[in-house]
């Protein structure tokens, strides 16, 4: 948040490599979401469906 606030207040710019790293990490996490079939919920761990965690 501090980095973003400085960026907004023009106190400094968000370091491009750091920013790209944030976006890349988000891409990696979101790309893992597999297509989810409702039938797959049957018998799976509660933790697996909480928040839509990756289902293989």
């Amino acid at each position: 948040m501090d980095i973003l606030r400085k960026h907004l207040l023009r106190e400094g710019h968000l370091n491009k490599p750091e920013m790209m790293e944030i976006v890349q990490k988000a891409v990696e996490i979101m790309s893992k979401w597999q297509n989810f079939s409702r039938q797959m919920k049957i018998g799976i761990d509660e933790k697996l469906i909480n928040g839509g965690i990756e289902i293989n």
Partner: protein, 207 residues
């Protein structure tokens, strides 16, 4: 299709309004224990407002830190066509010295976002609305989401469709969406059919 359990806070279009988003978080989220409350964002993070990059980075940071609790669905603005037509591409190039690779990385992130969510087996959530091609929620799983959304078809409809106005809703099933110049407007009957077939209570959408 992403499955999300209650309790969940569902948030609609942000459109680059970083300060409004922070205000929302201060009002709605900070009084709760975030790790125990899921958050579902229905897309349209970018364009229109001046701080789309900051909105995305904030939400991505949340996603990285709370991967199971935060879900970011894709909206119709999370596309090359819309961000070029509106303001996001220009914002990225202006703030990052014309570096196209930064814009491309954001597009990669948008293409990785899921399209629809199932909240507690009760609520079907997406950015736009339903499609004539949507019968069961398993149909959503057949969509290849890692693409630029086409101007017609199932993926387009989930991101773009709208409900009919109150007068037409009871008589129309699907009609051309003239205001958006793509996809459909949907009436009450196809909504009822989808809800009944998939045992949902309601549809939650933004747009």
């Amino acid at each position: 299709m992403i499955a999300i359990k209650e309790p969940v806070i569902i948030v609609g279009d942000i459109h680059g309004q970083f300060y409004d988003m922070i205000h929302m978080f201060e009002k709605v989220v900070d009084n709760r224990n975030l790790p125990n409350t899921n958050m579902l964002f229905l897309g349209d993070y970018v364009d229109r407002g001046s701080y789309s990059i900051e909105v995305c980075l904030f939400l991505f940071s949340l996603k990285i830190n709370f991967p199971q609790e935060i879900t970011l669905l894709r909206g119709n603005h999370e596309s090359v066509a819309m961000t070029e037509h509106f303001t996001f591409r220009e914002e990225v190039l202006r703030k990052y010295d014309g570096d196209e690779s930064v814009f491309d990385k954001f597009i990669e992130a948008f293409e990785s976002m899921p399209i629809a969510a199932d909240v507690n087996n009760d609520y079907l959530c997406m950015h736009g609305g339903i499609s004539p091609e949507l019968n069961t929620i398993e149909d959503v799983n057949k969509i290849d989401r890692f693409i630029e959304p086409p101007l017609q078809g199932f993926l387009c409809d989930l991101l773009w469709s709208d409900p009919c106005g109150d007068k037409e809703a009871r008589t129309h099933r699907f009609s051309k969406n003239l205001e958006r110049e793509c996809s459909f407007k949907f009436g009450l009957e196809p909504v009822k059919q989808i809800l009944k077939k998939n045992n949902f209570l309601s549809i939650i959408r933004a747009h």
